[in-house]
């Protein structure tokens, strides 16, 4: 009797927790869906770098930080999914440099964009991340020597990265990070729907469900 009582109390609490969280997640998904409809610029600002076809109907909005290890790990995965669905997916990069000093790398990246070498630079930064940002131990001096691999003029970047326009982009993105309640990087939204449980499989599932919805077979 005692065991049954304590056991069922445990069960009720676990169930309440599980139902409570799934209810809350449903509510959140609805809220973000509404925000995506009413307030699309929260997700895609005019200044946001994008990749993929302009006719794509599936938008992956990624809140990232060039110094974040998981962001680097997800980059090839996103590339692969985009390659597997040509013309259907558009990737939007938003910045969420949470760690102190991480915004400097965003500035370097944005300065490279002025030279038209954005994606090349991001690629080099992700591939060499272990050298200059191992476990958030930032060593920008190590990055400078690696940047020429992206075909950029490093001296020009040193000058351009302090452009107030870049600081403004970061400021706007951080404001949207707050509104959208992004707390970790990478933070994904696919057509406004947040990735609620983090993982490769979960992200693939979310993207696939949007592909199926937008491109019925």
């Amino acid at each position: 009797m005692k065991y049954v009582l304590v056991g069922s109390a445990c069960l009720v609490l676990v169930l309440a927790f599980v139902f409570g969280s799934s209810y809350y997640k449903g509510q959140q998904a609805e809220k973000y869906g509404f925000m995506a409809q009413e307030n699309a610029e929260l997700f895609v600002r005019d200044h946001s770098p994008t990749r993929g076809s302009n006719d794509a109907k599936v938008f992956i909005v990624e809140f990232m930080d060039p110094a974040c290890e998981t962001c680097a790990a997800f980059a090839p995965f996103i590339k692969q999914i985009m390659a597997a669905n040509p013309g259907k997916i558009k990737l939007v990069i938003r910045y969420a440099p949470f760690h102190d000093g991480a915004d400097n790398f965003v500035k370097i990246l944005e300065a490279a964009r002025m030279q038209g070498r954005y994606w090349e630079t991001l690629d080099v930064m992700f591939k060499t991340q272990g050298v200059w940002a191992s476990h958030h131990n930032y060593q920008p001096q190590r990055l400078w020597g690696l940047l020429p691999r992206a075909g950029v003029n490093v001296e020009q970047i040193r000058k351009d990265m302090h452009d107030p326009a870049i600081a403004k982009i970061i400021e706007q993105d951080m404001a949207d990070v707050k509104t959208l309640n992004v707390q970790k990087t990478p933070g994904y939204f696919v057509n406004g729907k947040p990735l609620q449980v983090f993982g490769y499989r979960q992200l693939q599932h979310l993207i696939q469900s949007e592909l199926d919805a937008q491109y019925p077979k």
């Binding site: 005692k2 304590v6 109390a9 927790f17 809350y24």
Partner: protein, 146 residues
């Protein structure tokens, strides 16, 4: 049923209610942090350290029959948690001023997350839970020391 059995049954039930309160509090606390993603501040962590183990301590005291030594083990935890919660509640209410803090990535202990009915805050809920446990344990102590 003898008087002795009756008393033992009441003791068990009181401890069970205490265990239930601790379990509900833990579930709510975990719900706040992992589902609603409210980040716990330092003081919250101290209270959690006192709260979470009590599930197992009080739970172990329920089986196979009520064990009065549970009082000895659970009282220090609940008093430490209760004092922290009391301090936290005063800090939150602004009665004790928080010393000026440099900006950091952590959460301030006076960060407002929820306020039920306009005034019941998380530290207050915690203080309520700890003080109820303390009262329950003291009642049990009286009942068993006769």
């Amino acid at each position: 049923m003898s008087q002795f059995d009756q008393a033992a049954k009441i003791n068990w039930t009181l401890l069970f209610l205490g265990w239930l309160l601790v379990s509900v509090s833990t579930t709510i606390s975990l719900f706040f942090s992992s589902v609603l993603e409210y980040e716990p501040c330092v003081l919250c962590w101290y209270q959690r350290i006192c709260l979470f183990p009590m599930i197992f301590i009080l739970g172990a005291g329920l089986f196979p029959v009520f064990d009065k030594s549970v009082i000895k083990y659970a009282l220090p935890l609940s008093i430490a948690g209760g004092l922290t919660a009391f301090y936290h509640t005063l800090l939150y209410a602004g009665i004790i001023p928080e010393s000026i803090q440099p900006c950091s990535k952590g959460v301030s202990c006076t960060e407002k997350y929820i306020e039920l009915f306009g005034f019941v805050s998380i530290p207050m809920l915690s203080f309520f839970a700890f003080s109820t446990i303390i009262v329950l344990l003291l009642v049990l102590k009286r009942r068993t020391s006769k």
